[in-house]
Symmetry: C2
């Protein structure tokens, strides 16, 4: 499948992987900005701004945005993370002009005062809802505990207080600084005419302001190593998250890190699964590898009856210590690889999956990666490269956060009860 | 994409749509049995049996089933509905032999007493969990109210009592009667060698018992027309479901019915959306068309603040009456079609989507339907065929069930407050 790349005069990049046999097209705009790019006084502005993007432009009310997407049967959405804000749509190929028109139009939102004030309440409600979810809340607090003063500890949603205090002009200033042409990549995959795409994006975005891009404070961290217990009497089960350091998104070891996390904590048939979930000691136990610009980490999470937590925590820490010391077996490696290869292949079968994948590769590596590139990289993972990850990133040197009804919990020492 | 079909001597059918450019393979076994095929004393046995299928065979423990799927990185699952029990896996093409081996092996489960007793508790817990979900609970009760003594009113999960009373030998008898070769279709899509598939299925299933297939009590129903209020003080919002009659799964009007439901109640940009969700009168309001063997129905559901329910219910009934009388506009038709065409295309992009689609077409029509067949059928929907649906199936002649804190609710008359 051919790959194409082009840069407009104002610095905006357009990339696409075209596939003439596809029956649909996926189109996304990747804005390289997120919670890590926020100062404390505008905490949550990236995510709030993502909402405001759908609230209208000089040419469209919020209602028009909804209706216009609907008219072309678009399947559309957006998300905000620590590092990216992405707007996207899946469409039938004949609607490419309309999709580019709508998506580029909403990316220059009016940020009207009345919409801003109304949406503020929606966001504050959303924050309340998420805070009521123990899994999400534990994750957010654990991230903060691990990253401490590193900007990756910033909450994507912000707090009810930070959102309440946010002024429309602060959001506008953030928008002007971060939504510049050179900080946005237009990404397409599936059935589309590449020259047509360039022309359409140029027509709509050619006059967008350029400006300095990038981000500050890109640095590695190995985490604070803290141990925190948050007592929430209303929560039924006890939740714990252990975060350990891992390779950054542009590190070739990322493939080995991903494989390692799967062997340790896939939600079926992994070490954590067999030790805790299968015998019924925990409701859930899993591990995943998160990669960022400049650093990365392994998130191990587990939830169980409060009365079992002290013992289960010792089991988890024991597994992490054993894994760091002894690595994984050849059989575990092969099984984890089978799962990952299958996941990569299945994820690549839709233009939407490819659009997301090439957009992320470009964001983190400034590089195109085909499905075959990715498959080869995972196939090359070996016990030796897994060993290298474990030596450079001690998976048992964790920052721990527990959340639930427990009033007392001891930091179990590594590898023993 | 070529279609293939073959029948083994014992009556088991194998069908496949092969696509050499696909990178994965989806494989499913469709057992034509579900809640509607249950007598009251074994209510819930189909779904319980679906669970037991993963609990082991003479050759495999439950643990082996899990490990063997994991070893090939299979993405696997199963579901039970009123009419079908389906077991499936998505795999890399080279693992076809293993996938056929595991799936066919588990379809002859041991149904061991100890596993049966343990899984019984899991099912009873699952029923409790679902009963705590007002949306699901309202749906299950509404279905019962609409279908009354028609077997499609049977709950897929059964009740805690029916499951508690179920004996292992009753399940075994049901299995022997319903899981006969001629009642099962093996369905594959994606990258696979057709001759190889036949050989594999024949090798594993060639000696399976045949036996009579089919089902009893296939008849149309237009619903009881009842109005029921279930008061549940613990539930916060009030939920209502209105069920109206619709065309059966093998009726060519099904495409028009699906389009009509979308225009009435898609979760964005439909009549219900603009009347209730967009102005903030309801939390959710949608409509979907459900097709069955012999009959069909439109499910309209809405949830809102209890204090708003009486008024909202009048709005919903007004919309249904207006729609029956006046139909939809050309613009609504075009918009609904855009959405459906986009949905069909996106659903067809993965072998998993095609496997499900051709399996269902074969189950209900004994016919292969290509993506193009489906697209053409939706493109042919017209204001005239929509009119025909509305004339034959009065969308405002509903059976109504409300569930929530309200102690009192009046059946609003059609079309007025």
């Amino acid at each position: 499948m051919p790959f194409h790349s082009h840069v407009l005069k104002n610095g905006m990049r357009i990339i696409a992987e075209t596939s003439p046999s596809a029956r649909s097209t996926a189109l996304g705009f990747f804005v390289r900005t997120g919670a890590r790019d926020e100062s404390p006084e505008v905490a949550g502005v990236s995510h709030f701004l993502e909402h405001m993007v759908f609230k209208g432009t000089p040419r469209r009310t919020a209602l028009d945005v909804n209706r216009d997407f609907d008219r072309i049967g678009a399947h559309y959405n957006a998300f905000t993370s620590e590092e990216n804000t992405v707007f996207y749509a899946a469409i039938l190929p004949e609607y490419l002009p309309q999709a580019v028109d709508i998506l580029t139009d909403i990316l220059r939102p009016s940020l009207r005062d009345e919409d801003f004030d109304m949406e503020k309440n929606v966001i504050i409600e959303e924050i309340g809802m998420y805070e009521d979810q123990p899994t999400w809340s534990a994750y957010d607090h654990a991230k903060k505990a691990y990253f401490a003063d590193h900007p990756l500890g910033n909450s994507v949603l912000g707090t009810a207080d930070s959102i309440r205090a946010l002024a429309r002009d602060q959001m506008h200033a953030y928008f002007e600084r971060r939504y510049v042409a050179a900080n946005i990549t237009a990404v397409a995959a599936g059935n589309l005419d590449w020259e047509r795409l360039i022309a359409l994006v140029e027509q709509h975005c050619g006059d967008w302001n350029s400006g300095p891009t990038g981000r500050q404070n890109i640095r590695e961290t190995k985490g604070s190593g803290a141990f925190q217990l948050l007592t929430k009497e209303k929560v039924t089960q006890e939740h714990v998250i252990l975060i350990a350091p891992g390779p950054a998104a542009n590190d070739p070891l990322r493939y080995s890190a991903d494989t390692l996390a799967l062997a340790l904590g896939d939600d079926s048939g992994s070490r954590l699964y067999w030790a805790l979930v299968d015998p019924g000691l925990a409701d859930s136990a899993d591990c995943s590898y998160h990669e960022y610009e400049g650093t990365g980490s392994f998130y191990t999470s587990m939830s169980c009856e409060p009365s079992r937590m002290q013992e289960n925590l010792a089991i988890v820490k024991g597994l992490l210590a054993t894994m760091r010391r002894e690595g994984i077996t050849e059989e575990e490696l092969q099984q984890a690889k089978s799962k990952i290869l299958s996941r990569v292949v299945r994820g690549s079968e839709r233009p939407m999956g490819r659009m997301q994948a090439i957009g992320m590769s470009w964001t983190y590596l400034n590089q195109y990666r085909s499905v075959d590139d990715e498959l080869k990289a995972f196939e090359a993972v070996s016990l030796k490269s897994i060993r290298e990850v474990l030596d450079r990133y001690p998976v048992d040197q964790v920052t721990t956060l527990a959340l639930g009804p427990l009033a007392d919990l001891k930091a179990a020492s590594n590898g023993q009860k």
